[in-house]
Amino acid sequence: MELLKAFVLGGLICLIGQLVMDLTPFNFSSADILVTYVTIGAILSAFGLYQPLIDWGGAGATVPLSGFGHSLAQGAIEGVKTRGLLGALGGGLAATSTGVAVAIVFGLVFATFTQPKG
């Protein structure tokens, strides 16, 4: 059941992205979706609207880029609570640092063993 919920929610989030690309003028690219999703995730999170999605759909909500926005926003809120207003700047990065570091390390590993041509 947990898997099914994650599949449905994650799939829905991605479907919306694909439809936005297909149904809007062509110059709305996948890179635009990427930035928009991070921003929307952060805004929803700030109003406390993203956590309910995670409670229901788990990885279906955390894996898409809106989940990254959510982590940024929650990190910033946490940073302010512990370290004052300056924590808003560092908190987001601290909260997402594991994910970012993983991306860099795996990028390095793949670049070592494969040769991207595109």
Binding site: F26, S29, S30, Q115, K117, G118
Partner: protein, 335 residues
């Protein structure tokens, strides 16, 4: 008064240059297409044993000119000039091929109209008495073109239904002052037509008005009509562009019964290319593998071959510019 120019844009070659030899090299996807068994050489895969797609494309272009020379038992040194172009930045495939051939070289960029542009230029040089034999090549490669003009292939973006599939292929031609082959009688040099389309994933729509303009001007200049040709074939408008061209022709009262498009002819409908083929290689290999053979066998007496080019750059696309389009036409007749 220019002696050999008729009307606004059409050139009449008085000494009638002859296309004496031609050769086509394609990738595996094209072999599975509608003209699969007609190409001279098929690459085993899109890399052709090279490390990069760009090197594979260059190899393909070089193979094609070497094959065209070989068919006439000639060597690169027998060429007075080599005219070539491709889709990559600074037409780098053509530059490297010309480096290997070591003949006087004129680089061409006309996007997908490159071959038609090359044949026009070869005709001009030969008719001007500046050469006896000229090599002309054009190439494109699906992966190198996607990488350059659209998004990185590894990103895996969905292709919209209006997109065309860049042909992996190269064809070369020898155009000579005398010899046996196909006659190059006229050329119509196109104007840039830009009706404001800026979608790099829908080039057929952008190019159709340019094709229309050149066809109309060609008919007016020579006092001919569609009935004077066995076939009028555009380069790579694809299914959508071709149907737009048909609409435009209908408005002008021109019958489109003998019109076709190389982009539609090259692939099978079940190959999931969406609107068909495109790229310099598209019209180049279809002409070499299919149309010229039909002229040779007498099935066609006279055709109008129109290379259509969308002259966009990756930068102009990023900056939201519209797409300047061009179409050059050549009249080919069986001897």
């Amino acid at each position: 008064m220019a002696e050999k120019k008729i009307g606004r844009q059409t050139l009449q070659f008085s000494s009638t240059p002859i296309i004496t030899s031609w050769a086509s090299v394609v990738g595996p996807m094209e072999e599975k297409g509608a003209l699969g068994d007609k190409f001279d050489l098929v690459l085993t895969d899109n890399l052709a044993g090279e490390k990069t797609w760009e090197k594979a494309e260059q190899k393909m272009m070089q193979y094609s000119i070497e094959l065209a020379l070989e068919k006439q038992s000639l060597l690169p040194k027998d060429l007075d000039f080599y005219l070539a172009g491709d889709l990559l930045n600074q037409i780098i495939c053509a530059n490297f091929t010309a480096r290997a051939l070591n003949t006087p070289f004129i680089g061409l960029y006309g996007a997908c109209s490159t071959l038609a542009e090359g044949l026009c230029m070869a005709g001009l040089i030969l008719d001007g008495g500046f050469a006896e034999r000229i090599g002309v090549s054009a190439s494109s490669h699906h992966d190198s073109a996607e990488k350059q003009y659209r998004t990185p292939t590894e990103l895996g973006d969905q292709r919209p239904m209006t997109a065309q599939w860049t042909v992996t292929g190269s064809a070369s031609y020898l155009v000579e002052k005398t010899g046996n082959g196909i006659m190059l009688t006229h050329a119509t040099i196109g104007r840039i037509i830009d009706l404001g389309s800026s979608n790099a994933q829908n080039l057929g729509e952008a190019m159709a008005p340019a094709a229309m303009d050149t066809i109309k001007t060609h008919f007016e200049d020579l006092g001919r009509s569609e009935k004077d040709y066995d076939l009028i074939v555009t380069g790579d408008l694809g299914l959508l562009g071709h149907s737009i061209l048909k609409e435009l022709l209908k408005e002008k009262g021109i019958s489109s019964d003998n019109f076709n498009d190389c982009g539609i002819m090259i692939y099978n409908p079940d190959q999931d290319t969406h609107m068909g083929g495109s790229g310099c290689g598209c019209s180049a290999v279809v002409l070499a593998a299919h149309l010229i053979e039909r002229l040779q066998s007498g099935q066609y007496q006279r055709i109008l071959f129109i290379g259509t080019g969308a002259l966009l750059s990756p930068l102009s696309t990023f900056q939201g510019e519209t797409i300047p389009c061009i179409a050059h036409a050549v009249v080919l007749e069986s001897k």
